[in-house]
């Protein structure tokens, strides 16, 4: 077990180096640097002179060729220093840290809500498999699964931000209202709750459709097993068979799903956050790409890669724990 863990960690570290190297090469070869892009936006009178540009380039480490700059970055990383954001002038850790809260709020709430609804839905679909009500629910969920979240988000946006604009039902983009700092605590909670509503719906519905189909597929396999027939034969009730005998045995594939969802917890969603002006990780990613904020892109890439690898490792370990047939020795 320990040998296996060490091997996985070494391979993981190797993968991380490769990933960061590739991403570093890519972003440094994108046309434009943070300095030239800033210049284009401001008026010509603020144009940076050539000498000044060289000083700035040196200060930001942009004068070095990218492979050397990469090793500098790697060296700083070994000292746990991810550098400063070009755009905000603050340490990358702090810039990313600011976004953790909003992203986690949205992702945990939506994953929790999706499971809360998907488990009963999946069990219901299994128990009424093939009937007309189950078929219509399944088709509906399938349609939801195929509905791109950005399309749904924009339709909802139209209804709640525009059509209902003069009513009490109007919802606003962003995470908090303008007068948030002056609110009392309960008001603050309701304010965030209202702002959370639409992004949460968009985040949840696709997960819900996926999870419930996942549960149904696993349940379909489980209820064909012999132990289910045994349980029925000994007189266990329908619900008891469904929940205690069948559902409990479908929990193993859940573990893979858990591992896959780990990077999603902090990854945010670039498009949805963009649409709802949610101050999360996805928007930070998109903004730092458009502004060529190299240190932030690298920091986010590193974080997501670690989470992806950790998710895979976690899933493999949980497998060994929940399924005694699997060992790593």
């Amino acid at each position: 077990m320990v040998n296996y863990l060490i091997r996985r960690l070494i391979l993981g570290a190797l993968t991380l180096v490769l990933v960061t190297f590739i991403v570093f090469a890519l972003i440094r070869n994108m046309p434009g640097t943070p300095l030239t892009l800033n210049m284009g936006e401001s008026d010509p009178s603020k144009k940076i002179s050539k000498e000044h540009m060289e000083i700035l380039n040196r200060a930001y480490g942009l004068d070095k060729p990218w492979p050397i700059a990469y090793f500098h970055w790697l060296g700083n990383l070994a000292r746990l220093d991810l550098g400063d954001s070009f755009r905000e002038g603050k340490p990358v850790i702090g810039v990313i840290g600011e976004r953790v809260g909003p992203t986690l709020l949205l992702s945990t709430a939506s994953i929790f809500l999706a499971y809360l609804l998907a488990i009963p839905l999946g069990l219901y679909a299994t128990s009424r498999s093939g009937r007309i009500d189950e078929r219509s629910t399944s088709v509906f969920l399938y349609a939801l699964y195929s509905l791109p979240s950005y399309v749904a988000a924009m339709q909802l946006l139209y209804v709640f931000y525009y059509l209902l604009r003069a009513t009490a039902w109007q919802l606003k983009p962003g995470m908090v209202s303008d007068n948030y700092p002056t609110m009392s605590f309960p008001e603050k909670v309701t304010d965030i709750g209202w702002h959370l509503l639409l992004p949460l719906i968009c985040f949840t519905y696709a997960n819900l459709a996926y999870d419930s189909r996942f549960i149904k597929a696993n349940m379909e396999e489980a209820i064909r097993q012999d132990y289910i027939r045994t349980a029925r034969a000994k007189g266990a009730g329908r619900i008891r068979v469904l929940v205690l005998h069948a559902f409990r045995n479908t929990l193993i594939p859940f573990v893979t799903l858990l591992g896959l969802q780990l990077p999603g917890l902090l990854g945010g969603a670039i498009i949805l956050e963009q649409i709802f002006s949610w101050p999360g990780m996805g928007r930070l990613f998109f903004d730092s790409i458009t502004y060529r904020d190299y240190p932030v892109i690298m920091g986010l890439t590193l974080m997501l890669s670690i989470l992806t690898l950790a998710g895979q490792l976690l899933a493999d370990f949980l497998y060994a724990i929940v399924d005694p047939r699997i060992t790593y020795s």
Binding site: T15, I22, A143, P148, M154, I289
Partner: protein, 367 residues
């Protein structure tokens, strides 16, 4: 416990000549009505893409001009298909200019006389007003799905964008399938350091955030066209197919027939691609079908974010992008949204049907 009727059925089957794998799969697929409907839908999309200049456009389908017959509408497929004479003498305003320059000319027009790239102006048609601009472009008799901010007809853009949606799906997924299947086959069949290398590559690809990769690659290309976008989506989405192919090859490489082929002296490549690959193809078809859906999603998302390709190859996502700028113009979001939704759902349903038709575990259950 198999009930008696199945043995009778088996006995009946035994008398019939054995069905091939693909015809068997097709038979199972055809029992899924929704999947079949989805297949019809994709076929219909193909027809719309091919017939788009006849359905909506401002160039005559057929016309007689100065004694000769022309097909100006073909220029919607490629600029060079338009006779230079039209570019020079009739530029824009076909209807008015045809009559002015040659009174004996005649023309058959597309069903809807709207252009996907330009606004129809006031004096362009004698019996049709110019398109409204800005938020006045509500769906109306002449613009059945409204117009965008610049007054370009939405229906025309949707119909002409069908070609892009189909192309993106097939080209990107074709590329990712080619890469994924080759790498997966090599890794699964050869094993050893090749497998190690490919597996590492897959892991690295899975760790790099896809959108970052795509945005960076598109930014590296100067003036990205729709073809660049398709290639970029293709080279970033092969990991799933590669993993599945690898697993299939690992399973198949030690079967008797493969060993027999090797014993007969067939070369490595021949065994891999002539003997093993056809048998590994069925499970790989499923992620390919889902891959088409996701390629279309990704391309439209890119256009939506403003990284799409400019006309004449604008996709449905470009309309969504325009819709985001004007929240009151709901038709810019609604119609392309429905189009993307239906297309994605069609490919998902086809994938689902294929999955159920080829998965032996589900086959047992279906009886």
């Amino acid at each position: 416990m198999k009930p008696a009727p199945s043995t009778i059925a088996e006995a009946k089957n035994a008398r019939r000549p054995a069905r091939g794998f693909w015809s068997d799969t097709w038979r199972r697929f055809a029992t899924k009505k929704l999947s079949l409907l989805a297949l019809v839908f994709v076929g219909l999309m193909g027809c719309i893409a091919l017939a788009s200049p006849f359905i909506v456009g401002v160039k005559p389908v057929v016309c007689k001009y100065k004694g000769r017959i022309y097909f100006p509408c073909l220029s919607y497929f490629h600029e060079r298909l338009e006779n230079p004479i039209f570019v020079k003498e009739l530029r824009k305003k076909y209807s008015v200019n045809l009559r002015k320059k040659d009174p004996d000319s005649w023309a058959i027009w597309p069903l809807v006389r709207q252009d996907p790239f330009n606004r129809v102006k006031e004096d362009e048609w004698e019996d049709q007003p110019g398109n409204p601009t800005g938020s006045d472009g509500k769906p109306s008799r002449y613009n059945i799905m409204g117009t965008n901010q610049a007054g370009v007809d939405v229906f025309a853009q949707l119909v002409h964008g069908t070609k892009i949606a189909l192309l993106v799906g097939f080209v990107s997924t074709g590329i990712s399938a080619a890469i994924g299947m080759t790498l997966g086959a090599l890794a699964g069949y050869l094993g050893g350091w090749v497998d190690m290398f490919v597996s590492r590559m897959i892991e690295v690809m899975m760790c790099i955030p896809t959108l970052v990769l795509i945005l960076a690659l598109i930014a590296v290309v100067d003036k990205a066209t729709i073809w660049h976008t398709m290639v970029v989506i293709g080279v970033t989405s092969w990991t799933g197919i590669a993993r599945l192919t690898r697993a299939e090859f690992l399973k198949l490489r030690n079967l008797e027939y493969v060993i027999a082929a090797r014993a007969l002296g067939a070369g490595r490549l021949r065994v891999m691609f002539r003997h093993v690959l056809p048998n590994a193809l069925a499970p790989v078809l499923v992620p390919i079908s889902f891959g088409i859906a996701s390629a279309i999603l990704v391309e439209n998302a890119l256009s939506f974010l403003g990284f799409g390709s400019p006309p004449p190859n604008a996709s449905w996502g470009t309309l969504l992008n325009a819709g985001q700028r004007s929240p009151d113009m709901w038709w810019l979001i609604f119609f392309p949204g429905i189009a993307i939704f239906l297309t994605v759902m069609a490919y998902n349903l086809i994938g689902e049907g294929l999955q159920e038709a080829t998965d032996p575990r589900l086959r047992e259950g279906a009886k």
